[in-house]
């Protein structure tokens, strides 16, 4: 281990927070969908991928200014989430959960191959936006402005989301439906609509994550969502799937693990993507329900 300067530590800290925040936005989608449908939505990584393409085409083909393009891309991704739920999951509402899981794997492959057909497998370059990608130097740490925006945007979105889930009527309906569809219907809750809203929110957050991901790692291809998707799923499980705060904590933890292991053990940097999986195994062995595991208070 060579000498690690405090500048390197700070640099890594900034990188870890940025990466963790990006993971968090995608991990929340997994955890929300799991919370309400008990479904691991394997198509979530592909929703992430599609929103990068949406943003790409709104900038390059529709020639929109970046802020409009990103806004439209986020909206389209939200709609895509609703369509996927309507077409692939709602017809299976009364089916065993394994059918839903298989359906989600099907949607995942469908979207990947659709992307190959529609957008070709050739790598595309995510449109650069100077105000995010300019590099600034703070206390000897050189970071893209993005590294400041990402955690801020994530924090704001998470706070808004927690408010929505815990303090609003639709949030109450989401929490009720996540426990008991039938009784929720007896309360007059339109469970299908609540589920659609959940998918929409999850997809919108994934879209924000994907766009910022594209600004940081500007390569787009049809399989670009697979690995981030898998890692964010792991982040959600580490945190305790079904729990929004858990997903954020798991995602930040994963970001720190990835960045700091590479910092302290540069020789392992080739195995960077494997850390998430090792972390998953270790944490599940110690805490099977995740770090913030769902509280079970159910007296019958």
């Amino acid at each position: 281990m060579s000498a690690i300067t405090s500048d390197m530590l700070l640099q890594s800290l900034a990188n870890a927070i940025t990466l963790g925040s990006l993971y968090a936005l995608v991990a929340i989608g997994y955890t929300m969908v799991y919370g309400i449908l008990r479904l691991i939505n394997f198509a979530h990584g592909e929703i992430f991928m599609m929103s990068m393409y949406f943003a790409f085409y709104f900038v390059t083909a529709a020639m929109l200014p970046w802020y409009l393009a990103f806004l439209f891309a986020i909206a389209c991704t939200g709609i895509l989430g609703i369509i996927i739920e309507r077409a692939a999951y709602r017809p299976l509402r009364e089916a065993p959960r394994i059918s839903l899981l298989i359906s989600s794997i099907g949607v995942s492959y469908l979207l990947q191959n659709l992307a190959v057909v529609l957008f070709s497998g050739i790598q595309k370059q995510f449109p650069p936006v100077a105000m995010f990608q300019d590099v600034i130097t703070i206390a000897n740490v050189r970071i893209q402005k993005l590294s400041i925006y990402v955690p801020l945007i994530t924090a704001v979105l998470v706070i808004v989301l927690l408010y929505l889930v815990n303090k609003t009527k639709i949030g109450m309906a989401m929490r009720a439906s996540s426990k008991d569809f039938e009784t929720s219907r007896l309360m007059g809750i339109n469970v299908n609509r609540v589920i659609a809203v959940t998918f929409c929110i999850g997809s919108v957050l994934a879209a924000v994550g994907a766009i910022m991901w594209g600004l940081k790692y500007p390569k787009i291809e049809p399989y670009v969502g697979t690995l981030p998707g898998l890692k964010c799923f792991i982040a959600a499980v580490i945190g305790g799937i079904g729990n929004i705060k858990g997903a954020v904590i798991g995602a930040l933890l994963l970001g720190f693990i990835e960045i700091f292991i590479v910092l302290f053990f540069p020789a392992l940097s080739g195995y960077k993507d494997a850390f998430a999986f090792v972390a998953l195994i270790v944490i599940l062995l110690v805490r099977p329900s995740g770090l913030v595991g769902e509280k079970i208070a159910n007296k019958v």
Binding site: E182, M187, A297, V300
Partner: protein
């Protein structure tokens, strides 16, 4: 208020309800008693649209509601306190009450006060998660939650199940009190004694059919009912 005619329901591969007809007049307490598997719960679940009927008719204030979805049936003023209470375990007591009023857009203050006056325990525990309440308190919460929708008719599926006799008595007293406030009650019970003492009208269900009917008093004195349900 509710008129069920020639209702047949298949449920879980068996004919659970076989051609039953009964009526719930406005302002009364009507009970449906019978053993396990007689089809009582299925009848209530069919009225709320949770279970689809094979044939027959369910009229609510003259309007056919069979085949409508649960949300639209509930929005007409019908509520069900489900079997096993089914309160939301990780919503607080207050949130459970609020979710009961999900379809309402007006102020809930007055109704919450009323529910708290019926069940003071709920007020003491309003911040607790529903899942941490005792069985009796959960039943109170389930009833309170149902009342929050300002129902015209409240259907209850075995409210006494698994509760201590003293708590059961409290629950039945409150059912009467709710009824006095103008809420029609359709009550399903295995506890025939309590149910028939409370009810104006009673029906006895056996293996999917209604075999006896009469006022609560008549049924209490009926020798067949005494033998089968009252243990005398």
């Amino acid at each position: 208020m509710i008129k069920v005619e020639n209702l047949c329901v298949n449920y879980g591969g068996i004919e659970a309800v076989k051609d039953i007809s009964f009526e719930v007049p406005e302002g009364e307490i009507v009970t449906l008693i019978g053993a396990n598997g007689a089809g009582k719960s299925t009848t209530l679940r069919t009225i709320t649209g949770l279970v689809k009927a094979r044939s027959g008719s369910i009229k609510y204030m003259g309007e056919e509601i069979l085949g409508k979805d649960t949300v639209s049936i509930v929005s007409k003023g019908i509520t069900l306190v489900p079997e096993g209470r089914r309160i939301f375990p990780d919503l607080t007591v207050l949130e459970n009450l609020k979710v009961g009023a999900y379809l309402r857009k007006d102020s809930l203050e007055e109704d919450i006060e009323w529910v708290y006056s019926l069940f003071p325990r709920l007020q003491e525990r309003h911040w607790q998660l529903g899942g941490t309440l005792s069985g009796g308190e959960q039943q109170m919460l389930a009833v309170g939650r149902a009342l929050m929708s300002r129902p015209k008719i409240m259907m209850m599926d075995e409210p006494s199940l698994g509760l201590a006799p003293l708590v059961v008595k409290d629950i039945f007293d409150i059912i009467k009190e709710i009824n006095k406030r103008g809420v029609t009650i359709l009550l399903i019970e295995q506890n025939a004694n309590m149910a028939l003492h409370t009810a104006d009208q009673g029906y006895v269900m056996e293996t999917g059919r209604i075999t006896l009917s009469g006022t609560g008093k008549e049924l209490l004195e009926n020798s067949a009912v005494k033998e089968a349900y009252l243990g005398k």
